[in-house]
């Protein structure tokens, strides 16, 4: 593929070229530091799997590790998140749940069931038809296949008992970490992303103390612990049992789906995630794109991407596979594009705080974590504080201020 076929233009000093192997034998050139999702997007490879029920083509959407459709087979392991995995020399990527590349015959399911499929009442009678249908369904669902290989080394267990655990290295988490370490606290700081992604977002150096690739997967109040797994490529996994006195939940906000017609087409991505991935790779869009969203939030994203923002109410449907246009209602025509970036207001990532006992409340775009004036949202075996977008989307600058304020309150409470 020549540079002119690329979806992205690269700025700044050229990073080392590398390559990933896609779907057995296709070599895709990429730059060091790209995520798998961005490298594939750059090469115009947008479809990475088929969906469970209608067998529709699917690809990455949120580009931030929250949605479920960028999952691919990476180096022989199923269901890995392409959007959070950095490309490295020799990396092998395979699509999942496809019968064949290209025109998958199972796509007929989608065409034949134009009116939709009620899977509870589909082909129930007679029994022989039902049995046949179940056999077919079982083989069309599921995502990846079993791993190619056994693990190289068993996982390790680490027990940590810090004064403070900070979950998240977004704006609020970074600000909170600075305040708490300046205050002399014993802090454990984790983020599920890799360091490159966090540094690109911060546009600054990030403390070595950060445990990257470390996702907190559960809060077990009765056991007094926050459980996390560190999953660094090429290294044994580490299970962390963290028993903190205080926790600052700075898990930020996610990009939910906007329910516009054909919002599942490969090439439909979340605008915020796309922008972050572009910054990470020092790239800009070289193909036409549009943003679907309304209000100042969507407009700002469209401006940053250098594209037009279309209000969701104007959208008749997204067209093409992968996308090639957005058609509008009421004779407003059509916008040709190769990427559609949805810009719904981010919804707080409230799950961990809620598991820890915090209350949540609907605020229009999602559920926000409720907290007292100082920032506390739950007190059980640990005192839990919420900072930044998880309390309601506020954007990077306000989130940083909020993280600083809450961390000061934590410091005060520790003294």
């Amino acid at each position: 593929m020549s540079d002119t076929d690329r979806a992205l233009s690269r700025r700044g000093p050229a990073r080392c070229a590398t390559a990933l192997r896609w779907d057995r034998d296709q070599l895709v050139t990429a730059r060091e530091g790209d995520t798998v999702s961005l490298a594939l997007l750059d090469a115009g490879i947008l479809e990475t799997s088929r969906s469970a029920k209608y067998r529709r083509p699917r690809g990455a959407y949120c580009l931030r590790g929250d949605c479920g459709t960028c999952l691919v087979r990476i180096n022989g392991l199923p269901n890995r998140r392409a959007c959070l995995t950095a490309v490295h020399e020799g990396i092998r990527i395979r699509p999942q749940n496809r019968l064949v590349a290209g025109a998958d015959p199972s796509a007929l399911v989608d065409t034949m069931l134009r009116g939709g499929m009620d899977h509870h009442h589909f082909m129930v009678r007679p029994r022989v038809v039902n049995q046949l249908m179940q056999g077919v369904a079982r083989n069309l669902t599921g995502l990846g296949t079993l791993p190619d290989r056994m693990p190289d080394a068993p996982a390790q267990h680490r027990v940590l008992e810090p004064d403070v655990l900070i979950v998240g290295a977004g704006s609020a988490g970074r600000a909170a970490h600075a305040v708490l370490t300046d205050g002399g606290c014993d802090v454990v700081w984790v983020d599920r992303r890799d360091r490159d992604g966090i540094v690109a977002e911060a546009n600054a150096a990030v403390s070595d103390a950060l445990l990257d690739h470390t996702g907190v997967f559960g809060v077990y109040v009765a056991e007094g612990l926050w459980a996390a797994m560190r999953d660094t490529p090429g290294q044994p996994a580490v299970l962390y049992s963290i028993k903190p006195r205080h926790v600052v939940v700075a898990t930020g906000a996610r990009d939910p789906i906007l329910a516009v017609p054909n919002n599942d087409r490969p090439g439909v991505v979340a605008a915020r995630g796309l922008l972050q991935q572009l910054r990470r790779s020092d790239a800009t869009l070289a193909v036409p794109a549009v943003v679907i969203g309304e209000g100042a939030y969507a407009t700002a994203l469209a401006d940053a991407l250098g594209v037009e923002a279309l209000p969701p109410a104007d959208v008749d449907r997204i067209e093409g596979n992968p996308v090639d246009a957005v058609s509008l209602r009421d004779g407003k025509g059509k916008r040709e594009c190769q990427l559609v970036a949805l810009a719904p207001l981010p919804a707080p990532a409230y799950e961990l705080a809620r598991q820890a006992g915090a209350a949540v409340r609907w605020h229009g775009g999602g559920f926000s974590v409720q907290r007292d004036q100082r920032g506390r949202c739950a007190t059980t075996a640990f005192t839990v504080w919420a900072a930044g977008d998880v309390t309601g989307y506020m954007g990077p600058q306000s989130a940083a201020d909020d993280g600083e304020r809450v961390a000061a309150a934590v410091l005060h409470s520790l003294r």
């Binding site: 209608y54 949120c62 949605c67 009620d118 996982a155 996702g215 999953d231 789906i257 054909n262 961990l352």
Partner: protein
């Protein structure tokens, strides 16, 4: 490809499928989740919950003051069985 608007792309649940379940008398996020399958896929509802609740509020089926999301069950991030198994072992060492 037919035109479809998805609420949950993990489990292929469309707006019209949610409408169908609502017409059967299911109005709560927990029961709509179970009947439609929405929120039970790889993302565990992170993508769809907002779209679902917005829809319920627009239809007057949920009160924005009191509506709650479905239970946020662990794990909220992927964790392997191998890493979990390590939880039976004591701390591996240097505490870092």
């Amino acid at each position: 490809m037919p035109r479809r608007s998805f609420v949950c792309r993990c489990e292929d649940v469309t707006l019209s499928e949610v409408d169908h379940a609502i017409a059967l008398g299911l109005h709560e996020v927990e029961e709509l989740k179970r009947y439609t399958g929405l929120g039970t896929g790889p993302c565990q509802g992170k993508e769809c919950i907002s779209a679902l609740v917005k829809l319920l509020i627009d239809k007057g089926l949920a009160d924005p003051e009191t509506v709650q999301p479905f239970t946020a069950r662990p794990p909220t991030e992927p964790v392997t069985l191998g890493a979990l198994a390590a939880g039976l072992a004591p701390d591996a060492g240097d505490g870092s």
